[in-house]
Symmetry: C2
Subunit: 397 residues, 2 copies
C-alpha cells in the first residue's frame, strides 16, 4: 500500500501486455508458437553480425558513452538508403535522423513530446497493441478508423479529424500489424490531403516494409508528403535481428532537437557498438541479397501457413485472407471468443496465438479475430500447429 500510494497517474494507467502473456505460453517446452512478431532465428545474418562486431571493435570509441543522436556512420547510411530504397523522395540528411532502439522507442519519444492527459489520438482499427499502451499511458483517448483492403477508411478519418482536435494519426501503412493490409497509393494521397486540410501530424510506422512477397509496396507517406507533417519510423528488427535493438526516425529539426534532449534524460544514448555493428551489416555488398533471401523464406512460410489453414481451419468456418508481406495471418470465425480460445489452445494443446481483442483500442471489439505469425515456424511445425488448433477448436466449442 505504501508503494502504491506513491505512484502517479501514468503508473496507474499502465497495463500488462496481452502479447507478453501469450509469450509465456509460447516459451513452454514443446509449444508451437504462432504468437509474437519475432523473426526466425535461423534467418539472422549471424556471420554478418559477427563480422560487424569485429569491425566495430576496431574503433573502441564504440564502447564509450554514445552520441545521443546515434552513430553518425549509420545515420549517414540510412539517409542515403532511404532514397535508394524509395522511402524518401530526396535525401533527408543525417542530421534529421535519430537512431532508436526500434520503432517502439520512436513511438514513446513521440508520445512523450506531443501527448498530454485528455488528448485524442487516431489509430487504425485494429492496430499494434504496444503502440496503444504507449500512447495510452499518457492518458489519451482513442478514436478509431476502420481498415479495408486499401487502408484506413477515408470517410471515417475525415469524420474524426472534423470532430476532434487530434494530436496525431498513427498508421502502419505496409503489411499492417495485425491485419496484413497495405494502404494503396491512391488512399495515401487522399489521406495526405486530409492531413493538410486539418493540419494533423501522421506517424508512419514501417517495420515490415522490406518483407514484401509479390511486389514492392506503394510509396511511403513520407516520400509523397510535401508540406504535410509526417514523422517516419523505420526498424532493423525484422530484417536483421530484434535483439540488436536498432531502428530510426526522421524528424523535422525542432522535433529532432527536443527528441535528443528527451533521449538524454531517458538513457544518455543508445549503444554505439550495436549501431556500428548494424552499419557493417547493412553496408556490406550482400545486404540486398540478404533481404531477397528473407523475402523468399518468409514467402515460403506464408504459403505453408495458407495451405495449413485451408486444410485444417477453413473447414471449421475460419476465414483468413492471404497476406502479401509481413509476418501475420489475421482472420476470424463467427461466434468465436478469441481470447478464451487462445488461452485454451495454449494451455491444453501447446499452440500459442494472439487473440484479436487486444488489437482494438475500444473494448468489446474484435473478439472473433485471432492473429497467427508464420515467421518462426517451418512447414512441418505450421501444419502440426494448425492440426492441434483444429483439435483444440473442436474441444473448445
Amino acid at each position: 500500500m505504501f508503494w502504491e500510494s506513491l505512484l502517479n497517474a501514468r503508473a496507474h494507467r499502465l497495463q500488462p501486455s496481452g502479447i507478453q502473456e501469450m509469450m509465456v505460453y509460447a516459451s513452454r517446452p514443446g509449444a508451437i508458437s504462432f504468437a509474437a512478431g519475432q523473426p526466425s532465428e535461423d534467418l539472422y545474418p549471424i556471420e554478418e553480425i559477427t563480422h560487424g562486431f569485429e569491425e566495430a571493435m576496431k574503433d573502441t570509441s564504440v564502447l564509450a558513452y554514445p552520441y545521443t543522436e546515434g552513430d553518425s556512420m549509420l545515420r549517414q547510411w540510412i539517409s542515403n538508403w532511404m532514397v535508394e530504397e524509395g522511402l524518401a523522395s530526396s535525401v533527408p540528411g543525417s542530421e534529421r535522423i535519430l537512431l532508436t532502439t526500434g520503432s517502439q522507442e520512436g513511438l514513446n519519444i513521440i508520445s512523450q513530446l506531443f501527448l498530454k492527459d485528455g488528448d485524442v489520438v487516431v489509430v487504425e482499427n485494429p492496430s499494434y497493441p504496444e503502440a496503444m499502451l504507449t500512447f495510452g499511458k499518457e492518458g489519451v483517448r482513442f478514436v478509431t478508423v476502420s481498415m479495408d483492403e486499401e487502408g484506413p477508411v477515408v470517410s471515417e478519418l475525415e469524420a474524426a479529424l472534423a470532430k476532434e482536435k487530434v494530436a496525431f494519426f498513427y498508421t502502419i501503412p505496409t503489411f499492417q500489424n495485425p491485419s496484413g493490409h497495405s494502404t494503396s497509393l491512391a488512399r495515401k494521397k487522399e489521406i495526405l490531403s486530409l492531413l493538410k486540410k486539418y493540419n494533423v501530424v501522421l506517424v508512419e510506422d514501417e517495420p515490415y516494409r522490406q518483407l514484401w512477397f509479390d511486389e514492392k509496396p506503394a510509396k511511403t507517406y513520407f516520400s509523397l508528403a510535401k508540406e504535410e507533417p509526417v514523422l517516419y519510423l523505420g526498424s532493423f528488427s525484422k530484417i536483421i535481428a530484434p535483439g540488436l535493438r536498432c531502428g530510426w526516425m526522421v524528424l523535422p529539426p525542432i522535433i529532432m532537437e527536443k527528441a535528443v534532449q528527451l533521449r538524454l534524460t531517458f538513457e544518455l544514448g543508445v549503444s554505439a557498438l550495436l549501431q556500428r555493428m548494424i552499419f557493417y551489416v547493412v553496408s556490406r555488398r550482400n545486404f540486398e541479397a540478404h533481404l531477397s533471401h528473407l523475402r523468399h523464406e518468409y514467402r515460403e512460410r506464408r504459403d505453408a501457413m495458407a495451405e495449413a489453414i485451408s486444410k485444417h481451419l477453413a473447414p471449421l468456418g475460419f476465414s483468413f485472407p492471404t497476406p502479401k508481406g509481413g509476418f501475420f495471418f489475421w482472420g476470424s470465425r463467427d461466434g468465436l471468443n478469441g481470447t478464451d480460445f487462445a488461452r485454451f489452445a495454449a494451455k491444453n494443446f501447446g499452440v500459442a496465438l494472439i487473440p484479436g481483442e487486444i488489437f482494438f483500442a475500444l473494448p468489446q471489439k474484435g473478439q472473433n479475430f485471432v492473429r497467427f505469425s508464420f515467421a518462426k515456424v517451418d512447414r512441418e511445425e505450421t501444419n502440426k500447429g494448425m492440426e492441434r488448433l483444429a483439435k483444440a477448436f473442436r474441444e473448445f466449442c
Copy 2:
C-alpha cells in the same frame, strides 16, 4: 511554429545538457579533456568483452526480442554479487532486479512512475545534472541539501522533509558526482531514521562505488535499511564500458511490476546480447582482478592530477580537496566565474572542463566551482592540461 505549437509541457521544459556542450569542445583535435565522466578507453576489458560476445552468440536467442526485465543469467549473478560485494545484507532475488541501460534509465523510470507536475524532489547541492534534467522534465520543484565531508547535512534534510511533501530524496552516497564526498556510515544511519520518520523514499545511485582508492566505502543505504524505502541503482558503465549500456535497479515487487510495464512501452526491452556479454565478463574468474586493476590505474591518475593541481592551479588561489575514489576533482576559487572560464579555456586553450554552476539545482549557485575528471587522462596530459589552464586563467582574469 507549427511543430512547436504541438509540443507538450514536458517538451517545453526540456533543456540542453551543459555537459554535452562541453563534450563538443572536448572532442576537438588536440583538446585535452577533463570534462566527462567517461572511463578511460585503454581500461576497457576488450579481451573479456570479445570473449563475452563469442560466448553470448552461442545462444542466438540473445538476438531475439529480449525479456523486458532483462537477461535472467545476469540478473541472477547481480543478485548474488550484491551480497558478496556488500551492497545488500541478504540476496535481493533476481525477480526484484531490473536491468537498465545504466543509472540514467533507472532515474527516468523512477521519475516516470513517481513524479508529477509540482512535486518536490530533494537533491544534494551539488548533484548530477542529468538526474536533475530527468526529474525536472516532469515539472518538479527542487529542494536542496548541502553536502559536507560526511555527506548530506542532516538538519537541512530534516527541515526539508518537515516542511514539504517530498516525492523522494535523490543521493549519490559514494564518491559523489561532482563533490567526490562519500556519506559516512553514521550519517547514513541518521538519514535512514529521518526517512522512516517522514516515510520518504531514498533513491541511492552508485555508479562509482567500486572505484575506491584507499578503503572500501561505507555500507550502502540499501543494506542498512530495514523498513525504510530505498531504491538502489547500480551500473557497469564505469567498471566495464559505458557503451555496453548496462546497469540495474533493485525494486520492491509492486514497483518492479510497474517498471516492467513502463519499460515495455519505452522500448519493449534492452538488448539481451549486451547483457549476456556483460554476464560473461563479470562471471569470469578475473573480474575481481580487473576491478583491482581499475582502482590502481585510476588512483595513479588521481595522484597525477593532485600533483598537477598543486603545481599549476593552487598558486593561483584554486582549492581542490583530493577525492578518495571515483573520477572527479571538485574545487573552487574565490571570485571565479566557472562557466565563462570553462568556455574561455576550451575555446582558446583546448582544455575542456565542466563549470560548477550546472551541478546546482537552484540558479546562481556554485559559480566559483569547476569539476575536473581525471579518468581519461594520463600523467603527461594532465600536467599539460593544468599548465594550459593556469595560462588560460592568467589571461582570463
